[in-house]
Symmetry: D3
Subunit: 136 residues, 6 copies
């Protein structure tokens, strides 16, 4: 009896889309105004979905207090009010597209969760653009 519990969180960050090994013209051509060298930013909304069996004792898949704290410690503290390109080590060499940010978040959370739990993350870059990743 597998069920999915979801927890929403958010963080605000600056970023730019940019490859150091491309010239400015190519960056501009592929990434458009998202490659602005002075950065722009987003209110990222994150949905973390954990799937597992319901614990018969508690009625929980996992205690959402724990999931909330995990997201806070591992994602919100290092990402919130930060410049992703400059201050978050994972994006020193990796282009912070919504896709890549979602994969990084998934990998950071995956290693903190018990192995019998499945994990999916959804990241809204804007209310109209979002990505979903489940590690497959």
């Amino acid at each position: 009896m597998r069920i999915t519990v979801n927890r929403k969180a958010h963080f605000n960050a600056a970023h730019r889309l940019h490859r150091k090994d491309w010239d400015d013209e190519t960056n501009e051509q592929v990434f458009g105004k998202c490659s602005n060298p002075n950065y722009h930013g987003h209110n990222y909304e994150l949905v973390v979905a954990v799937t597992g069996n319901i614990d018969e004792e508690t009625g929980f898949v996992m205690n959402l207090k724990d999931l909330k704290k995990l997201i806070y410690d591992k994602i919100e503290v290092p990402f919130d009010h930060k410049n992703l390109n400059v201050e978050v080590p994972e994006f020193k060499e990796l282009n912070p597209t919504a896709e890549n940010i979602a994969v990084v978040i998934w990998e950071k959370l995956r290693k903190e969760l018990a192995s019998h739990l499945d994990l999916e993350v959804t990241l809204f870059e804007t209310p109209r653009n979002f990505v979903t990743y489940k590690g497959e």
Copy 2:
């Protein structure tokens, strides 16, 4: 050609998280302020997703008027403006976590739907906490 139709509904209810066979301290430790003996409450939002083939005559998987009525009769009438722990028989012995409420809703609706239809329910306890169950 399987397609999913979704219908949103809502109900307001009081509940507390609590196990009768645990002492107060353990309930408090596991469930925190959700175990308040005087109850608290939520505006539960429910999404019922029914998957099936499109009927060639009507262009419907099922008539949403029927699905709306089914949700009203089987879920809203018994749950809305109720105290889940006290007044809803399914939770007399079952802790009304979001997970358990979602399973109860799924089971109540499953027996009313034709067997060729698949069912998934999503239950929002708050805009930030929600669960999804599809009976697998």
Copy 3:
């Protein structure tokens, strides 16, 4: 140059609409299912709007960190995960309608704010029912 800053907060609570000096039939007639003696509940969403001049030094009407903390201390701590009728002293004798809750919140916050600031509170009982009060 008056400007309004708004901060959203939320709390979950149980309540019932009920007058002790009315018999059950009258309570039921006026308040309907909202008078259920076993309580029901809501995810209350609160918008606190503070109007004042922009401080030329900071560019703030007031620091939202302070407003957030004020709402937390004065409203969320005493109201969240509580039974309004039973546990919140202001509603011992006062019917916790959305109107009365909004007035109580306004009065609790008003006394904490500098007198040159205007205050308005909006309280959503559900996404479809909400009230606005500005102390006039």
Copy 4:
């Protein structure tokens, strides 16, 4: 490493649910007020989900600028501010239920996307009624 990118779009349109080969009474019985011969309408919200591998060069599954333009050219231009029954050729003989509209949108977009990409469309007819189709 499959990941899904989603793009939201919208269009406003008139429609009615109606079968030419049924008499008025049968149309009314099955489709209710949705069969009004003078039409009614909706703000349709569309979510297009494309699943594929992340391109290592760009960090994109596909450039959302291209997906946005594709949705605009193939769906918004022919559907927005139109009468679906009268002006959109796909619905000359096909009843424009949410299910059928979603399938038509899926088929129009599917032929424009590279074959290694998977496609799912979600169409909101109202905030409470929506359908999801992935071509299976």
Copy 5:
């Protein structure tokens, strides 16, 4: 002690923007694709705000059950799933812009409310376009 209670409702309708006394070219020039002779439509969201004193007995400005029924009888029944230009008498000669629809709604509700109550209506034509009218 004036307070405002708000109730949200919605209706789906077809319309077109059009003046009979203008030629097609002028209609097209001023109203653009909104003048499509075959109509388009919207999910209109309506917020009705009633301001008055709190009744000390009930704790209500007015019973929301009554306001809900009033909106249903006077607005939803005549407008929902209708073609505003063709089927709603108020728009036989009046162009159904959001502004004009809001004024018509206000006038229909105003005459049903006690004179000591103030009324404001907000009408969303789309999530991005909306109007507010309070009869002044």
Copy 6:
């Protein structure tokens, strides 16, 4: 007969809260993590409200096509995907708090609107923090 028409728009931008004439410690004390020298960012949502009489010919206060274009030209083009502190001249010496951004937007739009129209702008920095300014 005054009525208000509202148009929503949005832009994504980077910013930091910071006064050049304060030392780092004071900036940090007052503005907290919002003063991060590497910037962070937001999806700003903007609601522009224009109040006037309904033109009897068109049924409009003003044509929303014109208002949409005005917001695009005067606000979205200069602000979207920009670093407010670095690239938007109005914030070279002015701290880009939500309050100050709202005032700048109001002033830019005010000079483009006919004098018989009133203007109010609401700017959401996040879904929980927003400001409203009407030039009084």
